[in-house]
């Protein structure tokens, strides 16, 4: 009896730690893992400060915000869509949270919840336009990008919000693991990646997402509610952008209306470097984590050895081309 095997599954039993690990580190993540290890080795040779606990913890903190944005971006890209609005939505979220807590005097947790709700709301908007009006995600999120950007600047009146209550910046606090200080925010980011990986690879909802991204028509014919899956994906992505906003606030200690302006492209870079295909249906969120770490390692490492920051941009661009080429080679291989 031939079961329609849903895309992305390696044809092996899904129980036990071995296959689980192989699944998490599927073929598409081997490339980014190799690149990350290479880069790490290179920089640890060039600078003796690179491999210290403090520095590695710093890299994770620096990757935290874009990495979280990239989780949502991965979900959207897996459905063969793209989200250009995530940086702007995050900025709006961070302003909503901070202004409500400071200027309007709302209860902090309520302010955070409203911020998350705002971002999830934009997710619903994006998803609704994509599924309801069948507009291409590129166009929809291009529009919502400007809308969110404008709303952020209008609502914040261009002022950075300072004097935040300590609950808002709680995730920026550190705890000591041996000699190293680790922030709660970094732990949250890693937990989010783990949770997303679990849902994507071990639950039906995740498999449906892959199916919709790989072949929407076939998915629909197997009984998957395609429009519901897409709407759900964009909404969950929006909620994740809200969490990124909270992490941003905890990292910088202020509500910044100018935040995140180039983060949409940075999150796409992380997803692409991680081996996820822009055509949808293939890829792993663990790859995205590796992709985000690669960018973080390169930026941090180049700074440590004193290279001009413009070279980071150059190298990131080269790596993106490389990652997409590898993806294309892999796709051609499978014909």
């Amino acid at each position: 009896m031939m079961e329609p095997s849903v895309v992305g599954a390696e044809a092996e039993p899904r129980t036990g730690a071995g296959p689980l690990l192989r699944q998490a580190l599927g073929l598409s993540t081997l490339g980014p893992l190799a690149a990350l290890v290479l880069a790490g080795l290179f920089f640890s040779i060039q600078s003796d400060r690179f491999l210290t606990g403090g520095n590695l913890s710093l890299i994770v903190q620096q990757v935290m915000v874009v990495g979280t944005l990239a989780i949502g971006q991965t979900l959207v890209i897996l459905t063969a869509g793209i989200d250009l609005s995530n940086g702007a939505v995050m900025a709006l979220g961070n302003i909503v949270m901070t202004r409500l807590a400071v200027a309007s005097g709302l209860n902090v947790y309520l302010a955070i919840a409203l911020g998350l709700l705002t971002c999830a709301g934009f997710g619903v908007l994006n998803g609704g336009l994509v599924t309801g009006l069948r507009l291409p995600p590129f166009i929809v999120t291009l529009g919502t990008l400007s809308i969110a950007f404008a709303l952020t600047h209008i609502y914040s009146n261009e002022q950075t919000v300072t004097g935040l209550p300590s609950q808002l910046t709680y995730l920026g606090k550190t705890f000591a693991l041996g000699q190293t200080d680790i922030t709660y925010g970094s732990v949250l980011m890693v937990a989010l990646f783990g949770l997303t990986w679990y849902v994507l690879s071990q639950t039906a909802a995740g498999r449906h997402l892959y199916a919709v991204g790989n072949h929407p028509e076939a998915a629909r014919l197997t009984g998957i509610r395609t429009r519901r899956v897409l709407l759900g994906t964009y909404t969950v992505a929006g909620l994740i952008y809200g969490l990124a906003a909270l992490l941003l606030v905890s990292r910088t200690g202020v509500g910044d209306p100018n935040a995140g302006q180039t983060d949409n492209l940075d999150s796409i870079t992380a997803v692409v470097l991680g081996g996820t295909s822009l055509f949808g249906g293939r890829g792993s969120v663990i790859g995205t984590l590796l992709g985000a770490l690669i960018v973080g390692v390169i930026r941090n490492g180049l700074q440590l050895i004193g290279t001009k920051s413009i070279y980071q941009t150059l190298i990131t661009g080269i790596l993106v081309i490389v990652a997409v080429s590898v993806d294309q080679l892999a796709r051609r291989r499978q014909r």
Binding site: L221, T252, D256, Q303, K308, I315, V326, R333
Partner: protein, 389 residues
Amino acid sequence: MSELAKPAHLRRRSAGTDGAPPGATRTTRTTDPGAGRRPDRSPRRRAGGMAALAIPVVLALTLAACGSSDSGSGSGNGSSGGDITVGLITKTETNPFFVKMKEGAEKEAQAKGVKLMTAAGKFDGDNASQVTAIENMVVAGVKGILITPSDTKAIIPAIQKARDKGVLVIALDTPTDPQSAVDALFATNNFTAGELIGKYAKAVEGSKAVKIATLDLAPGITVGVLRHNGFLSGYGLAAVDNTASDQVTAPSVVCSQDTQGDQAKGQTAMENCLQKDPGINLVYTINEPAALGAYTALKAAGKEKDVLIVSVDGGCTGTKAVQDGKIAATSQQYPLKMAERGVDAVVDYAKTGNKVSGYTDTGVTLIAAKPASGVDSKDVAFGLANCWG
């Protein structure tokens, strides 16, 4: 991306045959062409893929090594420099003001035999990159950081963390908010810079009724506010001093637009102002690129001879524009001096533990092609001799 939007050779084979019956034995292939069909890990292809990945990675890392030896080659020639590293963080890589600042810092670092590490934001207002740069430089062991803060409030927590670790932090050109958040500030007195051109404009216009357009920077940025208010105060149109944190206006100001200090945006702003009021005869601009943009707009409208443009910066391009008569007067500032004094201060701190503090005025001079009575100014020759860029 829908199937039909892809070129034909990339489409899945079942696209176009709508409503294929489910459960057909070929379903596996349509949803996942690769799984369970043939082993897709042939060693030759995998090696090809990996090679494609490896070569550009090696290229990228080689570039990184070259890039670092480039920036490192200018240092370490001094006698006692040894291990001292100074960090310089500018708002952007591309604005000529900061390029000059970086050059000045590099020259001084070379002269003193210390190492200079640089970083910048991606755009004016990019706080996150500056925060990251501060953290990385502190880990790298800099003794002091010179910074032109993009967001004068948001950068404070990161600066505080650096100072807590014993790193000297000096703000260049732009004060932080509050100013006491850094150890010291080396900057132009931006209020005075505005005042000088305001006084000059008043001396030239006399009692003539003026219609003023102000081409400003961007909301909330202190440099823009200070120069704007200084101009109005120097002209005598507003009673405001350098402690005001918001831009003031006056009845004679018929149009105010933001330019972000950019030439193209300055041109657009001037065009919009001319549409609003064609009778504008005096233009204050935040910096020379904005002024040159305004000049282009005025020339296109045939008004360049009737309108007076004043500006701030004193870059060589702008000073040349004063010589050519495009800009009437400009307040010249000295980014090279800021950078030099900054590097010197950090070296002093590293060697003796002496922390510089407070505000050091790095000077501003009014440069005008035609002097106006009652206002001290220097001529274009002086301006060109001391310009930056």
